[in-house]
């Protein structure tokens, strides 16, 4: 358990940012909801509930939601952080494009520090490549207009939350006839990994907390297969701590009443049908890839998007040669097991030692929405309590 000891020593500086349950609004109300969960969850059962979205994982640790839950209601962290599930080979491909002298490679800030097999985009930038962070794909398109002699590439990542923005940007590029703009498309879709997790024999989940922002685009309807085919409940949740704990109660209530339905806690923002305009734009600009690799989860059929034939002229993978080599994750890194919920972050053999938010080895440590970074930054109270309960074997992550 050496890594655990080192983690305890290194977390002091980061610990300054920690903020717990008593500090968020409606904390009293959240406690009352937690008390109801405690009251209705059967004592002889153990529920495993997966929160799909990385933003929810962050909120759970940031606000100590886990501390409020009874031990028999366990949260499993899902694959809903697009930075975290990007495989190394795709990072390498982005780096190969960035290294071309004519290219300005643009990406979101989170993407800069994701490790590929030959380093990160930030490191390539330090070596002289023209890599620029943008807030929006429309900023990347503006750069293309301003630099007609250069090739501007947008490194697109994200679930259906972000894909419509890339689609609209490409529609505008086409309308304006911008010739020096392409997209390296790494957009993924939310349903196939959920299906893969539900099919996984290692993981026995009882229910799901559905993502908020993705669902504003795809709606709630899409999740019905979880109930009809797999017999599990799902509740789409908002982002406030109170939203989350209310949604956990809704899942537990369904379980105790023997129901399994798609429920929407986040009706304030999520329509049942989704955003039809956004879905229409995505249909026009993208088509589904036959398969795509997910870090830690392997290849999943029809789980990602590429540019459609109509938009092929904007496809970076067609315009530039990329290595397109599959690179296995480092053997010491156990992101895959953590992503599947088989291991807790602190059970990974490099957690807090060789893999920290400052020097991430695995993708789950890169983004603040990754389970490992959230655990590292905010999980102290939870981990202390959990460590007391764990066996020695579990503590060393074997």
């Amino acid at each position: 358990m050496d890594h655990w000891i080192v983690h305890r020593q290194t977390r002091g500086r980061i610990g300054r940012e920690m903020k717990f349950i008593n500090e968020f609004r409606n904390a009293g109300l959240a406690r009352a909801v937690a008390a109801e969960i405690e009251a209705i969850a059967p004592r002889d059962k153990r529920y495993k509930i997966m929160e799909i979205c990385g933003g929810h994982t962050h909120t759970i640790y940031r606000h100590g939601i886990k501390d409020l839950l009874p031990d028999r209601v366990e949260m499993i962290h899902g694959p809903g952080c697009p930075v975290c599930v990007l495989p190394m080979g795709r990072v390498d491909d982005g780096i190969a494009i960035a290294e071309r002298p004519e290219v300005i490679l643009t990406c979101f800030g989170d993407m800069m520090r994701v490790p590929g097999s030959k380093g990160t985009l930030l490191e390539v930038k330090a070596r002289g490549a023209d890599v620029r962070m943008v807030y929006s794909p429309l900023d990347a398109l503006r750069l293309a207009r301003e630099n007609p002699a250069r090739e501007v590439v947008f490194y697109a990542i994200g679930f259906e939350t972000t894909a419509p923005s890339t689609a609209l940007t490409l529609m505008r590029a086409k309308k304006e006839g911008v010739k020096n703009f392409t997209v390296f498309c790494n957009h993924v879709t939310i349903v196939p990994p959920l299906r893969a997790l539900l099919e996984s024999p290692e993981l026995k989940l009882d229910g799901f907390i559905g993502p908020g922002h993705v669902s504003t685009v795809v709606g709630c309807k899409l999740y019905q297969f979880i109930c009809t085919e797999y017999g599990k409940p799902i509740v789409v949740a908002g982002f406030e701590p109170l939203d989350l704990i209310q949604s956990i109660l809704m899942v537990v209530r369904q379980l105790t009443q023997g129901r399994c339905e798609v429920e929407n806690q986040y009706t304030r923002s999520v329509p049942w049908e989704g955003n039809l305009q956004a879905l229409k734009c995505m249909d026009k600009v993208f088509e589904v890839r036959p398969y795509f690799e997910w870090r830690g989860l392997g290849f999943i059929a029809q789980s990602a998007l590429k540019l459609s034939r109509e938009y092929a002229e904007f496809d970076s993978e067609i315009r530039f040669d990329t290595p397109s080599v599959r690179v296995a994750d480092p053997t010491s890194c156990q992101c895959g097991e953590v992503l599947k919920g088989v291991l807790k972050p602190r059970q990974c053999r490099v957690f807090g030692t060789r893999c920290t938010p400052e020097h991430p080895l695995g993708a789950l440590m890169v983004s603040s929405e990754g389970a490992c970074a959230a655990y590292f930054n905010f999980g102290r109270k939870v981990t202390d309590r959990e460590m007391d309960r764990m066996t020695d074997r579990e503590k060393v992550g074997v």
Binding site: R25, T161, P164, S165, H213, E240
Partner: protein, 90 residues
């Protein structure tokens, strides 16, 4: 990258390009409102903004709730505002 932040529409900039100016935390920037064509947005409306695009129309009360929650998140929200400040959508 997955944050969505509330902003209030202060100006319709270009109907063809579907651009509107929003105010977010004291900063005014252009965003694209093409995904909310069916919502008939007007000046004064609140929207949730993600990577320069309005994702959904929300009411004022929801905007206030979301802003409070974002303040509690702290660093990630401040970074998002910083990134937005650097943005220049036209």
């Amino acid at each position: 990258m997955c944050l969505a932040i509330p902003g209030r529409i202060v100006e319709m900039v270009d109907a063809d390009l579907q651009l509107a100016k929003v105010e977010v935390g004291g900063v005014r920037r252009n965003i694209n409102v093409g995904l909310l064509e069916d919502d008939c947005l007007q000046i004064g409306d609140w929207v949730l903004i993600h990577v320069g695009f309005a994702m959904s129309k929300i009411d004022e009360q929801e905007a206030a709730r979301t802003l409070d929650a974002l303040e509690e998140i702290g660093a990630a929200y401040r970074q998002e505002l910083e990134d937005l400040r650097e943005s220049c959508i036209d």
